[in-house]
Structures are given as structure tokens and as C-alpha cells.
Symmetry: C2
Subunit: 191 residues, 2 copies
Amino acid sequence: MSTSEKSSYHHGDLRATLLSTAMEMLEGGEPFSLRAIARQAGVSPTAPYRHFKDRDALESALAVEGFRDLLADLDGGRGLPASLPDLAEFAVAYVAFALRRPALFRVMFGKPCDDADDERIKAADALHELLADALDRVFPDADASALATAGWGLAHGLASLYLDGKLQAASGEEVANRVRGAFLAIASVGS
Amino acid sequence: MSTSEKSSYHHGDLRATLLSTAMEMLEGGEPFSLRAIARQAGVSPTAPYRHFKDRDALESALAVEGFRDLLADLDGGRGLPASLPDLAEFAVAYVAFALRRPALFRVMFGKPCDDADDERIKAADALHELLADALDRVFPDADASALATAGWGLAHGLASLYLDGKLQAASGEEVANRVRGAFLAIASVGS
DNA sequence: TACGGTATGTTTACGGTGCTAACAAAGCAT
DNA sequence: ATGCTTTGTTAGCACCGTAAACATACCGTA
């Protein structure tokens, strides 16, 4: 019950502290380096290496947090979608997450992530499965897998394009409307 | 007429040389730094700064090249699409470009590009217009703008997800099939 | 309770980066 | 020929990620 006491050596809870300060810097728009995190946490520049193999490992941990939060945003907010407009709201929430936490989103998606980070891969898979469930529920007759890929791709693409300034919109509300519009427009195309 | 002669000072054509060696390194999968480019070009580490304000400026120039190539891939290859399957092939070509030149694709899209780089913005806009034209031609009755956004978003999202390993496929052919599948699946949903 | 191993943090050091400032050489216009 | 401008060079700054050697505190066991 003395987690807040420090002996000034042996910080006591460095790993968690590093993660949370890293997340804060990420949200705050600061560039984020291992050294900066250590500095912020009041610890020596190489202390983080006792808890993370390298920068990638730290980023993976952050990405896992991000996936958890994104899932919560999508799922918790409104439950699984039951209609096409619900799906559009899913996409809106997805894009909103990306724009609200741009640096985190880039950490989550901006790299091959080829390292065999179990947790990270699991987190991304969970997202995919959630989407597949959702799509299957709305369009039970269609090829759920292809549709889930398409839906994810659409949402992710819009998120990326807005995030990187290739599509522009003044307000978050305008982005939401455009995303809704895109989602409904594409679904209204009866071959 | 002596562009290939050198006085050993005053390289003569450094800017172009820097761009091409940068592009080569990008395609070759090497990390790419200003200093590495200079090294490769046989010139001092800070010489590039006479031709590019900073790293971003060099990247912008590369991005412009990339957009030109991507447009050529989409347009030149098969002309403007006239049907939904043609559109799917557009998407396939888009994703293929991203997977064939991943580092370039990241340079083109992975950043806000908020600097007022005229050429770069123009290049991206040209892409958007091409897509809008294409979509309008295939679906003259629909909201061309919303559809173009949706189509671009879908293609771009699939490209990003495959590129960053969030979706996986063994071969390029498999990717192409999945992209086609996603495109057709989403279009076969009659609200 | 003393002890020794292990976990955690520190110091030092290396090579890399982007970038600036001061300097040098070549080209060009007068 | 002379001087301005362009283009290159060298030196140096602050930062980064990372490894190695060292120091300290914790924790289980004798």
C-alpha cells in the first residue's frame, strides 16, 4: 500500500509511468522519444530499456492500449450495429477516434508491426473480428469476410486521408457528415 | 552541352541526382536520410540544403513524383473506367502501387503535408479529380463527390491495411482478388 | 538475520540524425 | 578583370536510439 513512496532509486512503478507519460506526450502532440519520456519521468535516459527491449516494444504497448480504446469506442458506445446507418456510425466513430488521437492512431497503424508481438496482433485481430461480426449481422446473406474487409478498408481509408490532410474538412462535424455520406453513397449503388 | 562533365566542385546537376538517388534508396528499402543521400551522391553531408530547405522539402519533391507515377498507373494503363468492374481494377492498381513502392507510398501519404507546397497539393488534387471523373462516369446519377470520396477511401484504406500488415495475404494475386472482392461486395449491397 | 542473486536504475560512450553558421570555390554579369 | 551570386565544404550543435559496465536496492533462502 505504499506504491507512491519512493526510495529515489528504484522508482517502483516505472513501466506503467513510462507508458502513461508516453501516452500523454503522444496526445499532447509532442514528438515523443525514449529519452524525452525518461526525462519526463525523472529517470535516466536509458532506464526505459529495463522495461522495453527497444522503441518498437514501447510503441507496441501503446498500440495495444490504443486498440483497446478504439474497440471500446466502437463497441461500448452503441453496441453492435443492426442496420446500415448503424454501420455508418461505426465508421464515423472510427474516423473520429483517428482525428481525436492522431499520433496514437499512427503508432497503431503506421508500421508493418512484423515483430511477433502477440498482444498487438491479437488486439488488431479482435478489431477485425468485431467488424466481421457487425457486418455479418447487418448483411447476413452476403460474404461477411469480404464485406468486413471492405467496411474496415473504407473507414480506415477515410480516417487516413483526413488524418494526413489529403481530404480536408473544417470541423469534426463536417468530417462526420462526409463519412456518413460516403458510407451511404457507396451502399446505395445497386449494381 | 557538357552536363556530364564535372569540375569536382559544383557537381552540376545535384538536385536531380539527389532526387534520383533518394528515390532509389526508397525503392531499395533503405531507411533514407539526407546524409545518406549526400553520401551516396558523393557529396558533403550538408550539400542537399542548397537545394532543399529541409527534409520535408525533399520528401515533397519525391511525393510529387510519386503522385505523377500513381496517376500514370491508374490512368495510362487502362483509360478511364466505364463500369463497376473497371472501377475495381482501379482499386486493384491503387493497392498494387502501394505494395510495389511502399516507402514511396508512405512518403506520399504518411504526413499531414500542411506545408504550403503547391506542387504537392496540386498533385494530390489531380488524383482526387481523376477519381471523381471516374466515379461520375460509372454512376452518373449518384452524388459523384461522395462516391469519389468513398471509392478513394476504400482503395486507400485497403492499401494502407495491407501495407502495414493489418491485413495479410500471401501473394500479390491474392491481394488483388481480395481487393476486387471487397469492391464488388460493397457494391452489391442494395440498401 | 546475514547473504547472495536478481531486478532495476545510472553513467558513459558510440554512431547516427537534421540543421545552422562560417568559409571557399566556381560561374556569370558588368 | 571585378565583384555578386550560386553552389559546394567544413565544423559544430543538440538530439536521438542503443549497448556495456557499474551501482543500488529488493527478496528468497540458509
